[in-house]
Structures are given as C-alpha cells and as structure tokens.
C-alpha cells in the first residue's frame, strides 16, 4: 500500500495546530463543541453569503471564513441549502431583536412614533449591508430553493405580526412600514444614498433619520 504509507509519512510530520479563528472557547479546552462551532459558522457565513448570494457563495469560502475545513462544515450542517436557510433565519432574528429594542424605548406612545422608531432602527441596522444583502439574496433564492422559501416566509410572518402587535398600527400603517423597508433595501443595494443625482435623492429621501 504505497498510498497508505505516504499518507502515514505525511501525517508523522510535526504539523503545528494553528487556530485560524479568533474564538477561544474556554481556558481548559482547546477544542470547541459542535454547537459552538455552528454558532461561529452561522455568524461568519452571513458575510460570505451577503457578498455573493446563495448560488455564488461556495462552501469552501464559508468554511474558510469560519476557520474550519470544508469537510467539517458538512458535519455541522447536512448541506448547503440547510446552511443558508439557517443563516437566513438567524438574520431575521437579528432584525427582530433590533426593532424590538427600538419599540421598547417608545413603549406606550402612539403607533406612529413606535413605527417611526422601528423604521430608523432598521435603517441603521442595515448600514453594514450584510444583513440586508442576505435578506434580498434570500428573497431571490426563495423562488427556487424550497427550504429558503420556508425560512423567508416564516421570517416575514413573525416580523409582520410582531410589528403589528407592538405598534398597534392599522393595516395600512403596517403595510407602509414594510413598503418603506423594501424601498430602503433597494436604495442600499444600488448604493443610491452615495449618489448625488436627482433620481437617487428622490428614492432615498428621509429614509435615514
């Protein structure tokens, strides 16, 4: 077995164990638990999927960003589809957390104030673009990837019901909230806020307070 021998020979070389991740789980432990790793992957994968989308992002890239091998990525998640769906769910949670904080700070006021507060919280949140881009990429992938479709629908379901209940706004007000949110997404993806043309300023007017 020359191949096997070669393999052993290579393995016997003193390869230093290098941790590419900045995460140091606990002083008494050099290995992470699978659950900790999954969390790492989920948070770093957002950046990967944000820049190139579901189809354009490779699992090698995701693994590299998380500081693990691609092989181990497939022990943490069954396939690319589930991985992306998990990332999408995760980013919906982040959005809900963010606007719920804004809602809490205006508790007991009018629907208009609560909605406006949540709207600017959202506008601030997506300034780093990662969350936003994953959102839109998910919207695209939802059409042809069943698991993603499921994640997007349940994400918006929760979001709409949350906004409705916490703001106490009317149907029209809630709808308007999401319409402006969608416009916000459009403006950011085009980079229209950095443009100084009439059409761009018209679209971006007042979206950021």
């Amino acid at each position: 077995m020359p191949l096997s021998e070669l393999h052993i020979a290579v393995r016997l070389l003193p390869i230093p164990r290098v941790w590419l991740t900045t995460h140091m789980p606990s002083p008494t432990r050099t290995l992470s638990t699978a659950e900790e790793r999954r969390e790492d992957v989920l948070s770093t994968a957002i950046g990967a999927f944000a820049s190139r989308g579901y189809f354009g992002t490779t699992t090698v890239d995701v693994a590299k960003r998380a500081g693990i091998s691609q092989a181990y990525l497939y022990r943490l998640f069954p396939d690319k589809e589930s991985l992306f769906a998990a990332v999408v769910e995760r980013s919906f949670e982040r959005i809900r957390d963010s606007i719920s904080k804004a809602a809490a700070s205006t508790e007991g006021t009018s629907p208009e104030v609560v909605l406006s507060s949540m709207a600017s919280a959202y506008a601030m949140l997506i300034r780093d673009q990662d969350l936003l881009l994953v959102q839109i990429h998910a919207q695209c992938a939802a059409v042809s990837v069943p698991e993603v479709r499921r994640a997007v629908r349940s994400g918006y379901a929760r979001l709409v019901e949350y906004v409705r209940s916490v703001s106490g706004g009317s149907e029209e007000q809630v709808q308007q909230f999401f319409a402006r949110g969608a416009l916000c997404n459009l403006v950011v993806t085009m980079g229209a806020e950095d443009l100084d043309t009439p059409w761009a300023t018209t679209l971006a007017a007042g979206l950021r307070h």
Copy 2:
C-alpha cells in the same frame, strides 16, 4: 486520424436541420442574422435568469432555451456578465414601455390618477414573474457584478425621471410609488398573495386592483 474520420462520418449522416426556436426570420432564408439571434436570446434568456438568477443560471441553459449552441452564444455576447446586463436593460425597457402606456391612457389628469394607473399596470406586468424576478436577481447581482450594477442604476435612473415627469407628482409621491413597487416585488417572490394568513394579506392588501 480516426477521430477526424469519425467526425466526418457523423457529419455525413443526413441530420435534418431542426429549428427549436419558433422564430422564422424570412421565407427566403434559413439562417438568422446575428442581430435577430441576439434578440431571440435576449427574450428567452429572461426566463432562464428569472428562475435561478445570475449565478445559478448556466450559459448552457440560456443557449438551450434560445435553440443555439453554447459556443455560438459566446459569439453573440462577449461573456455571461454582458449577457445578463443586456437582459436586465431589456427588462427595464419592458417595464418602462408598460407604465408609459398606462400613463398615456390617463394623460392630462391629476398626478394621483396617473401614478395609480401606472402602479396597477406594473402590478399586472409582473404577474408572469419573469420580469420581476430578473429585476430582483439583478438587484442582488448588482452588488458584486459591476456591469449589472451599472445596468440597474441606469435603469432606475431613467425610470424615476420618467415617472416624475409623466406624473408631475411630488417627491413624496414618486418615492411612495417606488416603495409600493418594491413591496409588490417582495409579496410576489414570497408567493404571499396566494397565502391566506393575516401577515400575508396585510402585506398584499390593495397592491392589485
């Protein structure tokens, strides 16, 4: 040269020339001009890119739908990027054509009427989903594909200025028009209009007249 001989032998078989495309350019001509072919490709490619987006759609698929070889696709367009950008420009034109017809039918009335007419024209237009999906996929690809970014920006530039001039509406009204358009896109991609849940009906309320 056994390979060459095989090639010739295969070529000598009486292969009937089958036109997979429905386009019959002229009775006195069995070949299309390159320009006609480009048009064919552009219109069939919309369907291809709509379902899987820029990264997920293969050039083989695009060629197959147009009824030509993948090799010839690369004679008609320099690369995949330019091809997709051309498809995006094309779909922006279709949108502009559609809403301009609606605007023409309400000429001389108030901005509100013109905008409302254009809005429902847009809502009707994207019912086949292809135009809409290419639009959103383009929005995604715009982030990482320069040529697509250019196409999307110039598309919206023209669109915004056209809506502004033809409707005579205020900044807020024009912005509102595009906000509702973006919401419309979101609703359709999720298939929310077919859902009978409170959150879905809230988002989709009144978008289609």
